[in-house]
Symmetry: C2
Subunit: 266 residues, 2 copies
Amino acid sequence: MVDEDKLSRREFLYSSGGFAAGVALAGGGLGMLSGCVSEPQERIVEIEKIVEKTTPVSLTAPLPYKVLDTHTVAELAYENWYKDFCSYAVVSGIIDTLEVEVGAPYDSIPTEAFRGFHGGAVGWGTLCGTLTGAGIVTGLVAGGAEGEAIFNDVIAWYAETELPVYTPDNPKTAIQNTNRANSPLCHISVGKWMKKENVAFFSDQRKERCARTAASVAVKTVELLNDWSIGTYTPVHGSQAKTHDITSQNNCGDCHSDGVPPIPGA
Amino acid sequence: MVDEDKLSRREFLYSSGGFAAGVALAGGGLGMLSGCVSEPQERIVEIEKIVEKTTPVSLTAPLPYKVLDTHTVAELAYENWYKDFCSYAVVSGIIDTLEVEVGAPYDSIPTEAFRGFHGGAVGWGTLCGTLTGAGIVTGLVAGGAEGEAIFNDVIAWYAETELPVYTPDNPKTAIQNTNRANSPLCHISVGKWMKKENVAFFSDQRKERCARTAASVAVKTVELLNDWSIGTYTPVHGSQAKTHDITSQNNCGDCHSDGVPPIPGA
C-alpha cells in the first residue's frame, strides 16, 4: 500500500511538463498492467525518454510551434465561424490545427472560452473579434512581448487591406464586395462593407463576409507566425501610442470630422 | 532521503487538476515497476476511478471557481499593471489569485501571454485592455456562453461608470479626477480622462489612472463571477447588435457628429 501510494519527486518533476507527460506515463503504466515486468529498469529508461520528449510542452508561453499550412487553417477558421463566430474561429482555426500537428499542450487550451469577443466584444463593435483571436494566439505561441509585435503587424495589415481576402473552397453564400476599413474596429469594418454590399447586419452575406474575414486573419497570423518560427520575421509596424501621443487608430477623421481632435495631443 | 523524495498520490489529487489525472496514473504505473502486481485487474479498476474523478477538472472551460476576496484581487491587479499593463493586470489579478485559492488548473494558464491587449490592443486604442482581460477571465471561468453574458455586463458597467473606482492601499501617484467614458474604447476612455486631468498620455498620472482602472475592472469582474458561482447572478445588459442592428457602442454621437449615421441601420 505504501509503495503504491507514493510517487517520487523526480517522477513528478519529469512529468510536470503538462497533462501530456502524465498521460504518456499513464500509457506506459497501463500497458504494464497486463502482465508482470521482467526488466523494470529498461522500462524506466523507456518512460523517461517519453517524458523527456513531452516535457517541453508546458503551458508557459511561448508554446511549441510548427510551421502550419495556411489553407488548412483557413478552411477550419471559415467553418468554425459558423459554430461560434469570429474570435473563436481564429483561435480554434490555429490552435486546433496545432493540436493535430503538435499535440499537447494545444489539446489543453479551451478555445471555446474565447467566443465572447465576437462582434467586437459581445457585439459592442470594438476590436474586430478576428483580431482579438489573433492576439490570443500570437501571445500564446510567441509569448507576451514577441507575440505583441506580431499582433501589431496583423492589426495594421487588417486596417489597410481589402477584406475579406480568403475565398473558401465551398462558400456557403456568394458575396460581391471587399472593403478597406482603415480601422481595426468591428463597427467601422463591417459597417463600411455592409454599405458597399447594401445588406443588413443580420444577413447571410454579412455572416459570410465575417467568416471569410476570420479565415483571412487566421492566414495572415499564421504567415507571420511561420516566419517568426523559422527566424525570418521582422516587426514592421511602429508604436501607435508614440505616433499619436495617445493610444489610437490612424483614422482620426472618421470620428474627429472637424479635423480638430477634442483631446490634447489626440 | 527516501521520504523526502516522495509525494503521496493523495496530495496530487487534491492539489492538481487535469494534470493530476495523468500523474496519478503515472504514479500507479511507476509504482508497479518496483515489483510484480498480484491483482492487476483490481488495480485497473482503482486507476479508472482516479481518472474519472480527476478528468472533469481539465482545461476545458468552465474551470473550477471559488468565491474570491475583491480587495486581494484589486491590489494584485493594481501592482501587476506596473509590470505588464492593463490586460495582463486583470487576467493575472484574478487568475493568479485563483491559483492560490484553487490551485490547478490555474497554474497552467500563461497569463503573460495576454499582455498584448494593452492600450486597446498594442496601443491601437480599441477595446480597453482591462476589458479584454475581463473577457478572457470570464470565458475561462464561466465558459463561452455564460462568460459572455458576464463580460457584456462588465463592458456596460465600464462605459457607464466614473472610473477609476478603486483606490489602492498604497498609491504610487496622486490623481484628481474620475470620468465616465460612455464607451469601452481605450482611446475615448483615457482621452476624456486626460483632458479632465490635463495631463499627457505618457505621464505618471495617466499610468496611475490606468492601474486603478485595471483594479476597478478586476473587482467588478470578480463581483459578478462570485455571484455567478453561488447562483445569484442574472445577466442585465441586452444585445448591442440587436439594439442597433449592427455591432456598436451606445455613444453614436461621439463619431456621427451630424446625428446621421453614414451606414444604413447604424
